[in-house]
């Protein structure tokens, strides 16, 4: 059985060239980038080269504004808590959206316990944040606006520049969790008015456990991890040199292939949706029809539940996900689809296909062929299907 991986928003395989870029720093170039000897200098050189490549993908922006972290979750925590703590004398109000990843929502809940106030702005039926509603939520004591660049579950892209403008007109810091967007859509952090940006390597064919945060030099946030003087006192801890080298390479590859992959994946994504909707009745596309990541398709199969679809797909060698991988252990329907006003039962039947480099037209056609009998089998078992069809 050929296996088909369509869960690239959860994670991606390490690209062979990324692995090749990492290996020397696991084998012979094992120095600590803080050491002054030749081993250390080789490691330092690799770290700075990678920093330049990261800055290139989300810019060009100042390499000095890039700080390496352990990944997207740490970058998000750093941004939200770091901004909150640095600016607490100015105010204790933060605006974010209802559709953020838990790496933003959980730190926000934590800050609420510390006496901060958080406003969660709504989204429309396509999952787009309404800039006007966000603007109305701004107060004199608002210190941070954090809205994701693109949503992990639906792929919907947010009006980031518009939101950044609102933030800056009021002198408020703007952070964006761009973990899903980096490498998939062109980003220029400086031009777009982004003060803080989170990103992760393993979503763009880099290794797990490494990521970065862009901190515009005008933005001062309180360090999150204390220790040595690494990363210009912004993030302590011996640099993960192999990881950083991998992230750098991944950014370089993402930049050079961004345009061609985006065109290719958009065609595959739409082929998948057209194939599904032509062969299965009562399906719903969740997310914006156009303003969406080129690789993401979130579909609700009405009257049935997502996990039972995924298990069946898995038995056919097809890997997809329901909700986000991080929340699939929970019983609650997706908070993202809920915020979009999707009915609970329809939300439970959602499946996310997220495509990537290895996927081909043939893969899409196999998936389109395998889905209808699975849906039929599950619907025949569903008590909702009778009521749905018989009135």
């Amino acid at each position: 059985m050929t296996k088909i991986y369509m869960d690239h928003n959860a994670t991606t395989p390490v690209h062979p060239n990324v692995l090749k870029a990492m290996l020397p720093f696991l084998e012979t170039e094992y120095g600590n980038a803080s050491s002054m000897h030749s081993f250390g200098r080789a490691a330092r050189e690799a770290v700075e080269e990678a920093r330049g490549k990261v800055a290139g993908l989300i810019g060009p922006c100042e390499p000095a504004d890039i700080v390496f972290t352990s990944g997207g979750t740490e970058s998000d925590n750093f941004a939200v808590k770091g901004a909150a703590h640095a600016l607490k004398k100015k105010g204790k109000h933060i605006i974010t959206s209802k559709i953020e990843h838990h790496a933003i929502l959980s730190p926000c809940e934590f800050l609420e316990k510390e006496g901060y106030e958080i406003t969660y702005t709504p989204v429309d039926e396509y999952g787009v944040v309404d800039p006007q509603a966000l603007k109305n939520a701004v107060r004199d004591d608002t210190i941070l606006i954090s809205v994701m660049f693109a949503n992990n579950e639906t792929g919907t892209i947010q009006p980031v520049e518009e939101i950044a403008e609102i933030a800056h007109s009021k002198g408020i810091l703007f952070h964006t969790d761009a973990v899903q967007a980096v490498g998939k859509v062109p980003i220029n952090a400086e031009k777009m008015g982004i003060d803080l940006l989170s990103m992760s390597a393993h979503k763009i064919y880099g290794p797990k456990g490494i990521g970065a945060i862009y901190i515009n030099k005008k933005a001062k946030i309180t360090p999150f991890i204390q220790g040595g003087h690494h990363e210009r006192n912004r993030r302590a801890g011996t640099e993960n040199v192999p990881g950083i080298a991998g992230l750098g390479k991944a950014c370089e590859l993402a930049k050079s292939d961004l345009e061609s992959e985006s065109v290719r994946l958009t065609a595959l994504r739409d082929r998948l949706w057209n194939g599904i909707s032509a062969n299965v009745k009562d399906v719903k596309l969740n997310g914006h029809p156009r303003k969406r990541l080129s690789n993401t398709l979130n579909v609700s199969f009405k009257y049935i539940e997502g996990e039972s679809i995924l298990l069946n797909l898995d038995l056919k060698g097809i890997a997809a996900s329901s909700g986000s991988a991080c929340t699939s252990g929970s019983l609650e329907p997706s908070h993202v689809l809920k915020a979009m006003g999707v009915d609970a039962a329809v939300s439970q039947g959602s499946v996310r296909f997220s495509l990537g480099r290895a996927n081909t037209e043939k893969d899409i056609d196999i998936v389109v062929r395998e889905i209808p009998p699975i849906i039929k089998k599950l619907r025949d078992m569903s008590p909702l299907y009778d009521s749905g069809t018989r009135g």
Binding site: E305, E307, S308, L311, P333, A344, M381, P383, L384, D386
Partner: protein, 124 residues
């Protein structure tokens, strides 16, 4: 997530007793779409003995497998015996369930009890 047992997967892939009983003597309906599972169990009862059971389920792999198993377990039992079937017995018969899926076995027990209650009410 913790993987499902072999027995759970067998019942999920080839569930027993799927369907409806048109002239059922008792029907039990539990759960709601917000929690992600809806179980409906139909019982055919003669002389206080369950001679047939069918189910319709909206839910995850565990919900479908527990529906299949609980209907298997009740067929041939008296009403009194069926009332003693616990959620634990269903889960054990399936070779165990991942902890976060134990609520599915609770739903199976509740659906069965609700079907029997429906039968008792109709009998009166």
């Amino acid at each position: 997530m913790e993987p499902y047992s072999k027995t759970v997967m067998q019942h999920f892939m080839n569930p027993h007793n799927v369907g409806e009983i048109k002239d059922a003597d008792g029907v039990g309906n539990v759960g709601n779409p917000v929690c992600g599972d809806i179980l409906r169990i139909y019982l055919k009862i003669e002389n206080e003995k369950i001679i047939d059971a069918k189910f319709k389920t909206f839910g995850c792999g565990a919900a479908i497998a527990t529906s299949s198993m609980v209907t298997d377990l009740v067929i041939g039992k008296t009403v009194e015996e069926a009332l003693k079937i616990s959620n634990k017995a269903v889960a054990e018969a399936l070779g165990g369930l991942p902890p976060i899926k134990m609520h599915c076995s609770m739903l199976a027990e509740e659906a069965l009890k609700s079907a029997i209650e429906d039968y008792m009410k109709k009998k009166k």
